[in-house]
């Protein structure tokens, strides 16, 4: 056990730091509060800049313009990006989830066709996984693809699609064989979002925004060469994508949560409660301390998991611990924020009396989604129960 960075890790970090010092966009502050529809060209440009420095996809193999970064280097990458509060990359799903899946399962032609444009943000990717009747039970999805000559004809509906409104391509999971057990009849298609028959609608969520879309497919034609992996092996391909979802990206959460708690402590020093600053209220102190401690433990859990994956070579079901831990911690953190802010906590962005321009009321609502998105807490507990503890499958 040695928690000091190795020479390679230090060199990686220092190279990134000096690149960021020279290239961090100074006008980001003017853009960060704007709606993503408006800032999207800016985010594309930022990704291109990162790619020029070979920083857009550090985890990718060197032959695909990545850096073959170790998991710890990837964690360092996300921490550094969080430290400088860097803009997100426009094609975050393409870079984080779908690109690696194409590299793992794609044909040479597919890699040649898709990878460069993922990297330079020319083609934005979205993910067509969840359906109205297939959420946690993803394998029960019903969107069907029927082979007709050299095309699949796709009909069905997807929900909770991030970047659907701007997506050029979609990693779509479809049912190609309805007559076999549900996991065995799925196939992943790479679908051009400009194909006739696709309709994209915004899905308004409880925060009032529309981060996600609904996708409707009516007789959409997808050429057979756009099958990713093998026909009817889509479950494996899709699971591989979801594995990346629980990868090193979480390393940035430590700094994000720390920023929250630091700000909250600052607020608690200034907000009065029963005639003294909230920061002197013993119950508030207990809760802030609990949260601060859990933020550190989350990081220790992550680092331990990264070391374990590095040693064993495969991301395991332990990622489910991280998912449960951070999502439930974030909810507790926002609840404490509400207790400290009192009536001010409910004020929305734009209200002249809102603290931090309504960030806390937004986060309070938004974090309810944390225990649902990317695998509900219930599904994560099933994964731990079955795959880690060896208990019989409960569903």
């Amino acid at each position: 056990m040695d928690l000091n960075l190795t020479e390679d890790e230090l060199a990686f970090r220092d190279e990134l730091r000096s690149w960021l010092a020279a290239n961090f966009p100074k006008d980001w502050a003017d853009w960060r509060e704007k709606p993503i529809e408006e800032s999207f060209p800016y985010l594309r440009a930022w990704q291109r800049k990162l790619q020029e420095g070979r920083w857009a996809a550090v985890s990718w193999p060197k032959e695909y313009e990545g850096r073959s970064a170790t998991l710890m280097q990837q964690a360092i990458f996300w921490e550094e990006m969080a430290r400088v509060e860097a803009p997100p990359m426009a094609n975050s799903l393409g870079l984080g989830l779908i690109g690696p899946t194409i590299i793992a399962f794609g044909t040479e032609a597919q890699k040649k066709r898709f990878i460069p444009k993922i990297l330079n943000a020319e083609e934005i990717w979205c993910q067509g996984f969840s359906e109205p009747n297939a959420g946690s039970d993803l394998a029960g999805l019903q969107t069907e693809a029927v082979l007709s000559g050299d095309h699949y004809i796709v009909n069905g509906q997807k929900v909770w699609t991030s970047y659907g409104w701007v997506g050029d391509w979609c990693e779509l999971v479809v049912r190609t064989d309805p007559n076999v057990p549900k996991h065995k009849g799925l196939t992943v298609l790479l679908v051009d979002m400009k194909s006739p028959g696709i309709e994209v609608r915004p899905l308004r969520q409880m925060t009032g925004e529309s981060e996600f879309n609904e996708l409707f497919f009516r007789d959409v034609r997808v050429p057979v060469e756009n099958v990713l992996g093998k026909v009817n092996d889509g479950w494996n391909v899709a699971m591989s994508t979801l594995m990346y979802e629980r990868g090193s990206y979480g390393a940035r959460l430590h700094l994000i949560f720390k920023r929250y708690i630091t700000r909250l402590i600052e607020l608690a020093r200034n907000i009065q409660r029963d005639g003294r600053p909230a920061a002197q209220d013993p119950i508030i102190r207990q809760k802030l301390a609990q949260c601060s401690a859990e933020i550190e433990i989350m990081r220790c859990n992550q680092m331990r998991a990264f070391s374990r994956v590095t040693a064993t070579g495969v991301p395991g079901p332990e990622g489910s611990i991280q998912k449960i831990f951070w999502s439930e911690l974030n909810q507790r953190l926002q609840q404490i924020a509400q207790e400290i802010l009192g009536p001010y906590g409910q004020l929305l962005a734009g209200d002249p009396r809102a603290i931090d321009n309504g960030m806390w009321s937004y986060a309070y609502l938004r974090t309810r989604g944390n225990t649902i998105e990317a695998g509900t807490s219930e599904v994560q507990r099933n994964i731990i129960g079955h795959f880690v503890l060896g208990l019989p499958r409960s569903y």
């Binding site: 056990m1 190795t6 402590i265 601060s292 220790c300 070391s307 507990r381 079955h386 019989p392």
Partner: protein
Amino acid sequence: MQFGLSESQDFLKDSARKFFAGECPSAEVRRLMETDTAYDASLWSKLTDQGYTGIIFPEAYGGVGLGKVELMLLMEEAGRALLPGPFFSTVVLAGAVLDTVCSAAHKHKYLAPICRGETRATVAILESNASWNPRDIQLTASNGKLTGEKYFVTDAAIADFIIVVARNGVFVVDSKAHGLKVSPMSAVDLTRKLYVVEFSNTPAEEIGATADLARAFDIATAALAAELVGGMQRTLDITVEYAKTRKQFGKPIGMFQAVQHQCADMYLETESSRSAVYYAGWALEENSPDAATAVSIAKMYASDAGRTVGNRGIQIHGGMGFTWENDVHLYYRRAKGSETAFGDATFHRERIASMVIDCGSVSAKSA
């Protein structure tokens, strides 16, 4: 950065697990807990042969010279086996105090025999106010004599000497000293006995300053948290095994999500405690500026988790969990004792608050 165990650390942990499984099985724990002191001389000499009694102490005093992470691993395995008797009191607590506060001469006199396995010792801290805040200690030595009482002193009846924390210094009192009276307190944990220690004009040898105890107490606190982790792991293992085999409604109860998800939470709580404990061990070893915070984080989390893991373990066992013959309650009892020792979660949360709210934040090492 490597937050996994090294080969030698893995080896130490594995061999400790095998050692305790062989020498301290459940039947032995149950036999010892029914005795007055839970001490067994032959087990102690085997612990000594393993080098455990000198694990973190300098070779100059007959120790093995390993680090704090190794101490955490050993205590984790001791906790898994529910090792009864004065190991924590003697080696971890008294040993760390001696190693931290006293002169080389005193170390030769008191620490070396501990390393060699020749003496048992303990540290008397709490008084009737039961406060873990050193400021609340009232007992004061005068002219090399102590008069007063200490409560909740672990393993005092088997100790050859007792280290006494007074307002004006740290003292050693020989178990045969004049005016010393040791009487048992009847407490929940049957494997680590508690005592009232009374002094009446009792001669005491000063060995160090009370203000220098913080680091030794941090080491002991982290080690207790490590021991809790081992207890949690054993409780989890027993419970998962039971959930796989116990059938109701024609199915293993572990198939029901109400049961399975509690097992998942036990796993999450155990692993998170372990992460916090290993980090604390590392921070102590490296004398990292956040070591004290890291210790409080570990003890805070493990104190609560030790209890909740036990709660869930008993609940999942159903009626069996409520019986005397099931081992889960033995771990539950230990967890209760360890939870309050060196400050419970509430105590450590306030300590964390004073460090992160009042003095600015300190955090786990980030990349």
